[in-house]
């Protein structure tokens, strides 16, 4: 039961926006659609809502085909990336409008509006017009209007992307709590792996209109099946190094060699791609196994209290994530350390061959 998409294609003006998407969202599940911009997230959401029709394929709700059913006849709620409210209605009327249209009795409307307003801390703003609110408050109003309906399907299209950092964190926490209480199928799109990890539930990795991988959020994080999925599911994108396995030795580039250890043991000789997220590179040696990669600094970028150092190791561009604010001179040489036990290994076709053991005590790191 729940929402099912069967072989959904969406082609607009000869351009394929979605290609053969087959997905299943059980009722009550929380789902994150993760993908870069133009991956087809919004298109997919619009098809689920019934705003657009798939070019091919079917949409089923509880086993019933609803492909051509008008959006008005479906029980869905949607929050857009832009702050969309009815500008001529007060916040109260905005939130109440879906209930009024359903013909809910006046007292119940009042009770439900006040309940959801309390939840999203909109109570003191109920008499204002949306134009008199800040961006965060406007988006909270939009979310409140979607929540109050108690729809079977709640769609959120990058709802937090236009908000500033602090507000985003705050609202994300609230939303996570609200989703846990609700009974509807939640589909939440985002470009940020961090956001996916924080919201939990299931993740669907979309890329160029295709589904790359689905599964529980943290599981997919630890076992991306393809190089592309790993790229989408890390921010900054995962770093790749060419790896040549010869016997019990592995070689990165020309000079750096190390003995196969941990999950790399037993790799058949051949050429591979080693993937390592930016937060698994260190400028200090941490274990005896670490390989040292001499690299040139190309750019060091400070983001909050973190520093991203873009370096180049023999033609491989790498990003190193360091905590704290550090400055590195452009062109200077640094030694980047990486633990081979942390390598994701992909074969030449880009499929995962070996992934590091997941330390069960550790939740997935931010970023």
């Amino acid at each position: 039961m729940g929402l099912t998409l069967e072989h959904v294609d969406r082609i607009v003006d000869g351009e394929t926006h979605l290609c053969d998407v087959t997905l299943e969202f059980p009722s009550g599940s929380r789902n994150i659609l993760l993908g870069r911009t133009l991956a087809g997230k919004t298109t997919l959401l619009r098809i689920m809502a019934g705003l657009d029709r798939p070019t091919r394929g079917r949409v089923l709700v509880d086993g019933k085909d609803v492909t051509g059913v008008s959006v008005r006849k479906r029980n869905v709620a949607m929050v857009y990336q832009q702050f969309i409210n009815y500008p001529s209605f007060t916040v109260y009327d905005n939130i109440a409008s879906p209930l009024r249209l359903q013909g809910v009795p006046r007292e119940e409307i009042d009770r439900r509006v006040r309940e959801v307003a309390e939840m999203l801390r909109l109570t003191p703003l109920l008499d204002r017009l949306p134009a008199q609110l800040s961006g965060g408050q406007q988006q909270r109003t939009a979310i409140a209007r979607a929540l109050v309906k108690d729809a079977d399907l709640l769609l959120l299209d990058e709802p937090l992307v236009n908000l500033d950092y602090k507000l985003r964190e705050e609202l994300r926490e609230e939303l996570t709590a609200i989703f846990e209480r609700g009974r509807s199928i939640v589909v939440y799109t985002t470009t940020e792996p961090t956001e996916a990890l924080m919201l939990g539930g299931n993740v669907v990795i979309l890329d160029e209109g295709r589904v790359l991988q689905t599964g529980p959020t943290d599981q997919v994080y630890h076992r991306p099946t393809t190089m592309r999925a790993a790229e989408v599911y890390s921010d900054p994108p995962i770093n790749y190094l060419d790896l040549v396995v010869e016997g019990s030795q592995a070689r990165i580039g020309e000079q750096v060699t190390f003995a196969l250890c941990a999950h790399l043991e037993g790799l058949a000789p051949g050429r591979y791609h080693a993937g390592l997220r930016a937060n698994r590179f260190f400028l200090k040696r941490r274990t005896d196994r670490d390989v040292a990669l001499e690299s040139q600094v190309e750019l060091s970028e400070i983001n909050g209290s973190e520093t991203f150092i873009h370096v180049n190791h023999q033609g491989f561009p790498l990003v190193v994530h360091e905590t704290g604010i550090r400055t590195y001179k452009m062109g200077s040489t640094v030694t980047v350390h990486a633990d081979p036990a942390q390598f994701f290994v992909f074969n030449q076709e880009g499929s995962l061959v070996a992934a590091p053991e997941v330390d069960p005590g550790r939740t997935p790191a931010r970023r």
């Binding site: 705003l51 949607m78 857009y80 409008s97 939009a142």
Partner: protein, 267 residues
């Protein structure tokens, strides 16, 4: 205190603008003999006789009433047809949409005189000559395209997501259109109504041709003041002043929205 050049230039400009209107007001307050006899910057023997004549003589005041009736009719017809049309052009894609949209504008490129004869024959056939609706419909020729263009600009400024949100919330189309959408483009509707009013109010040729006596507009009445005794200057000036008033009133109401209409590049 030094007077700025800008102030002087603007003052001069304003003076030149207001001069003919002042002259008309001046004349309207004088008797014919007075106007022809002497040159005066302001009326020495001011009289309201000209105005009294207009307000008491039914051949004069009915002209105003006729004009107002067909102008209102035209504004209502133009808005009710242009609102859905503009919505369609703004929100939907259909075969030839851009061409039709441009074709609408080309209707404004022909002088109304071109349509005079066909209109006259057509309206005669349907026994519509000398009715208010005849003029109102004829003026739709250039008011509907204009209204569609202005409204389309305002509507395209409203995010499509608002429409979709309303449909997701369960609004039926008419209800959404009237309760959510129309309030959002209030300013645009005001500007459009103003332009419809203005074009219909000042148009003479079609209005005169399609009416005889029952729906004769004020502008036509004014052109017929030449009598055996010559032009009735004072009366004509008074009629002119009274013809400016409704336009000025309407401008006053939409003055804040007009600038937005211009900014959208559609007016």
């Amino acid at each position: 205190m030094r007077v700025q050049k800008r102030t002087v230039a603007l003052g001069l400009y304003f003076f030149l603008l207001i001069l003919p209107i002042y002259w008309m007001l001046n004349m309207s307050l004088r008797a014919n003999a007075d106007i022809l006899a002497s040159f005066a910057l302001f009326p020495r023997n001011a009289t309201l006789a000209n105005y009294m004549k207009i307000f008491t003589d039914s051949s004069w005041y009915s002209g105003y009433i006729n004009s107002m009736i067909y102008v209102s009719l035209n504004t209502i017809i133009s808005l009710t047809t242009a609102l859905p049309a503009a919505y369609a052009f703004s929100r939907f894609r259909f075969i030839g949409d851009k061409h039709v949209f441009f074709w609408l504008l080309t209707n404004r490129m022909a002088p109304p005189a071109v349509f005079l004869l066909p209109f006259f024959q057509l309206y005669s056939t349907f026994h519509l000559i000398d009715t208010h609706i005849a003029v109102a419909l004829a003026h739709c020729l250039f008011n509907v395209p204009l209204a569609v263009w202005i409204l389309e600009g305002f509507m395209s400024g409203i995010p499509r997501e608002i429409d979709e949100t309303a449909f997701i919330d369960g609004y039926s189309f008419p209800r959404f259109f009237l309760t959510v959408f129309v309030p959002l483009i209030r300013a645009g509707i005001g500007v459009t109504a103003f332009f419809c009013f203005m074009f219909s109010w000042v148009e003479l040729l079609l209005a005169r041709t399609l009416t005889i006596t029952n729906a004769k507009p004020i502008v036509a009445t004014m052109t017929r003041t030449v009598s055996a005794s010559g032009l009735d200057w004072g009366l004509l000036a008074a009629a002119g002043v009274l013809t400016i008033v409704p336009g000025a009133l309407v401008i006053w109401f939409v003055r804040n929205h007009l600038a937005k209409g211009f900014a959208l590049g559609r007016v």
